[in-house]
Symmetry: C2
């Protein structure tokens, strides 16, 4: 079985040739020293760690799973050592705030690292990923005292983080949650309640585990406005930073899941756990969304990473597996990569993955611009794009990642159904990314119901204008003209469809009926834009290898002729409206 | 968790109102006594067995799995008892030949029973399903002696069957297989070789296991023309029918699979196993395809059955799970079935499943007409339709079944990722149906490369003409006119596309590039035809309940507005041809 190969050439091409990373970062205070070469060499090292240390643990970790014995969680063999090596090498703090010991590198690097982590070992990647989500919430909403006490060790990775939001009757609808927090009079609170589906809820790596818990204060109103966010560590922390007493929380059980078996997904009981408020009372969802937005991008990248790894394995297998004859009628079996239908499966995964990586990097750069640019207008502009694209990255990348995993498994035929191949694990692991941190249906509603109407509809219009300007400004070689034209047409349809939906804004059923199809349409058009960019830049580039040029050019043409046409069907389906969905009485389903 | 409910009302509607089952069967010698009422009451009993005996074993069987200890296979707790109860109740021989003790009922009943088996417990259903495949091959190609010796006990189910085709380097391409059979001089052969992925290769139900093994005779030519089919029983059978010596075959190991854990999928070693030729030397693939064609329909029905069960569970959950607000702005959480996006997932599964069942029944009736009708022309006509539809049923039903399982799991949110919900098992189990008995890519190539050109292209033309005549002859109520028009348009596009592909007949790459998309297009148009039929007949029926009428009418409209539009995108993608698939050098993927 071929091993995972970090996509360093593509990273270097994206940063160096497609997105003008150097100039963009140079304009951001704190990133003046960062350039594509530095980024590529950091990611090369990071990729080695992923491929050499983490990937070999992926299948054994899936087979062994986590255990809970006498209240203690054990992760699979090798995970604790790998985690400590990860922390020692400094990978935890890659994009962390230097004020608290982080390396302060841009988010584009973080996202590219996250992709490789997810390709190599999704279960492992969730530990640092959730820690970073916790860091975001504490950094933006925590008191100075909490920041000083928790951030340095979370950013280094010495301590991990967990997010305790969901309860058995409160998932998408957090307003229904019932966990309670009572003030103890000294600024701390006693938290009581049971949370489910808590990723990284416990581990055996050592250090502390910082739980961010949503709960209600005694006098809190019903619904989402009564929810506050609390920080409750597994071990109370002494004033000198050392670990003190065990806090009153325990792992009730481990969830038995379809996949990510090496990740201890916990039922957590908080039995008077001592915690501290993060942000203002009743503003817990606000603080939570700071971490959720970062997590949603991360989850999208997880889907991307799994798609990348699965596609790589399928390509390697398809080159070696000999079955059937070639189209020119030669005798003897040929590598199955010669068969058109196998190629279609492989190219589909590749076209979706390369474009996803590009959109991920672009979005990450917008996040850094939104956080750091000197010009307020530029910041706000970028911030809008991040808001618009967050649900798209989360939902489309995970849908495409799952589809790519399924197609890649299919290339293996019966061998792909056997656990030893590792292919079915990608399918099982990818499946959670479409569900957690807000199901993809919720993401689509966020896009159509909340993001499209922002700035009175000017937010999506601005994004479409940017694409159109880019298409017009790009010197498109002759072989790409059909691609550029097809993307332009699809964009025009998307613009019209967006106006159609904006006009129906007030109707929740219409938004819901359109949502998932619209999000896919939006993602495909965005990918088309990036295929035109990538293939044009590759063709024009002096730096890109001729192999890379051929590859990008072929993939762009494949994307336009085989995947982009889906948008026409989505358009028609969406325009049929909500009526046929809402007509049937729920008893008659 | 709601239990599985056999779809008896829909069965009764299909047989009694949609397909004129009584008149059709009355015209077939041997089926004069069969009518829809009899069929429905038989299936009602069968459904009870599936729901009460088999479904309760489905999740425990998945958790426990099969074991191999000291060469002996143990199936999960309860499976052996359930299997014996199945045989005692006579379910094994439902459609079996009365000459050998079968009940001689039509295939439509068999297929509807197979669907329920698959809904309740796919792993279990493979035991009788593979036995029936073996019966088909022996009945059509075996000597009289083999028939007398094996068929009665296989048809009763006392003995089970297994098909030993695949080897590690010979999957899709059976021409590469290396197992050998040496004549022993007494009409028997000694078979040597290792086969993988052998479903029902062994069991602990008692009785015998009849292996049908593909192997090469000593002087056989290379490739598929050198392959013969042999019958090798686990226990040699004495002349009085009692079980004799253990044959030289053993289970090398059990495959570790993504799903169907309760099914013992074996690596089989044949170490000089004694066997007898079925059919002529070198004509093994011919004999094998007799069983494969029946098996392919069965596998399609498996996908359908899993989709049915998964959709039922998702509907029940969506009615009870309270999250989020309603579109009219009421306060308090509502059942999630009120949300448009959840409805879309549920209706998609339902629209695909009901139409699949209808097409399955229609195809099964064509099989019976092909086998029994007095008029040779009618028989040949029906036989052509069966050949045309076999790959469509196999591939489209399993793709749709998998998609339905995934959507149904999605309705459960995070709870669907937890094993206890049972939803992720449907996804894992459904996945194999897209792979085994010829991957869905192979089915699509069979459709485009072999079936479309049959009768110089008149076979598909005849089928399209039948649909067009049906659409014209059906009295369509006003609410259905948009559906009928949309189906007519899609059919017209499919006809043109078919001519376009027929004109490219000789080009294997073009066929391969079109194949999977074309098969989906073909299936969607067929489903559209059946939605017009079902909804029109329901509306016009005196017998159908008003609830059924509303349901079918709504679903037909949903199908036409939300799913049928996919055909436009498939059309465009197919017409882009093979060029963008074949351009990229295989080293550059």
């Amino acid at each position: 079985m071929a091993g995972y190969i970090p996509p360093i050439e593509d990273v270097s091409f994206l940063l160096g040739e497609v997105f003008d990373f150097n100039a963009q970062m140079a304009a951001l205070p704190g990133f003046e020293e960062v350039d594509a070469d530095l980024a590529t060499s950091v990611l090369e090292e990071a990729g080695k760690f992923c491929a050499e240390v983490l990937e070999p643990l992926n299948r054994p970790g899936d087979e062994e799973g986590c255990r809970l014995e006498n209240g203690l969680v054990t992760t699979p063999k090798g995970f604790a050592d790998a985690y400590r090596a990860f922390v020692e090498a400094g990978w935890g703090g890659l994009s962390g705030d230097p004020e608290f010991g982080g390396q302060g590198l841009p988010r584009a690097l973080q996202i590219l690292f996250d992709e490789m982590l997810s390709s190599a070992n999704l279960s492992f990647g969730l530990f640092p990923g959730l820690t970073r989500g916790g860091v975001e919430a504490i950094a933006h909403h925590g008191s100075e005292e909490l920041k000083q006490k928790y951030l340095p060790k979370m950013i280094s990775g010495e301590w991990t983080g967990a997010m305790a939001l969901t309860e058995s009757s409160a998932g998408t609808d957090l307003g229904l949650l019932t966990s309670r927090a009572e003030p103890l009079g000294d600024g701390s609170y006693a938290i009581r309640g049971t949370k489910i589906f808590i990723s990284s809820g416990d581990q055996d790596f050592g250090g502390n585990i910082v739980h961010l818990v949503l709960a209600r204060l005694p006098d809190a109103p019903k619904g989402v406005k009564g929810i506050s966010l609390f920080l409750a560590p597994k071990f109370l922390v002494n004033d000198d930073g050392s670990l003190g007493e065990r806090n009153r929380m325990s792992v009730g059980s481990l969830e038995h899941k379809m996949g990510i078996h090496a990740q201890p997904t916990c039922v957590m009981n908080y039995d008077g756990a001592i915690g501290w408020l993060i942000g203002e009372p009743g503003r817990g969802l606000n603080a939570m969304f700071t971490m959720m937005n970062a997590e949603r991008l991360f989850v999208g990248i997880q889907g991307l990473g799994i798609g990348e790894a699965a596609n790589q394995k399928a390509v390697a297998y398809a080159r070696e597996r000999l079955q059937g004859r070639s189209a020119d009628g030669g005798c003897g079996p040929v590598p199955i990569i010669d068969h058109a239908d196998v190629r279609k499966m492989l190219l589909t995964g590749r076209a979706l993955t390369d474009a996803g990586r590009a959109l991920g990097v672009w979005t990450a750069m917008q996040m850094d611009i939104a956080a750091r640019h000197r010009d307020e207008t530029v910041r706000q502009n970028a911030n809008g794009f991040v808001a618009l694209l967050t649900p798209v990255v989360k939902a489309a990348f995970t849908d495409f990642g799952f589809e790519t995993a399924v197609l890649s498994q299919q290339v293996f035929g019966g061998h792909g159904y056997i656990r030893e191949s590792g292919m079915e694990q990608y399918v099982r692991d990818a499946r959670i990314t479409q569900i957690y941190e807000g199901t993809n249906g919720v993401q689509a509603m966020d896009l159509v119901g909340r993001k499209l109407p922002m700035e009175d509809g000017d937010l999506p219009r601005r994004f479409f204008k940017l694409i159109r300007r880019d298409l017009a400004a790009t010197a498109v070689p002759a072989e790409l003209e059909m691609v550029s034209a097809a993307v332009g047409e699809a964009l025009a349809r998307l613009e019209k469809l967006t106006e159609y939906l904006l006009a129906k804004d007030a109707d929740l059923d219409e938004a819901g009926a359109a949502a998932t199809d619209y999000l896919r349409f939006f993602a495909l058009v965005s990918f088309g834009w990036l295929w035109v960019l990538m293939a044009s830049k590759a063709t024009a580039s002096a730096g890109a290898s001729s192999l890379l040029k051929q590859r990008k050019l072929s993939l762009a043409r494949f994307f336009a002729s085989r995947l982009l046409p889906q948008t026409a069907a989505l358009d028609t389906a969406i325009r049929s409206g909500a009526a046929t969905l809402m007509a049937l009485d729920s008893e008659l389903f």
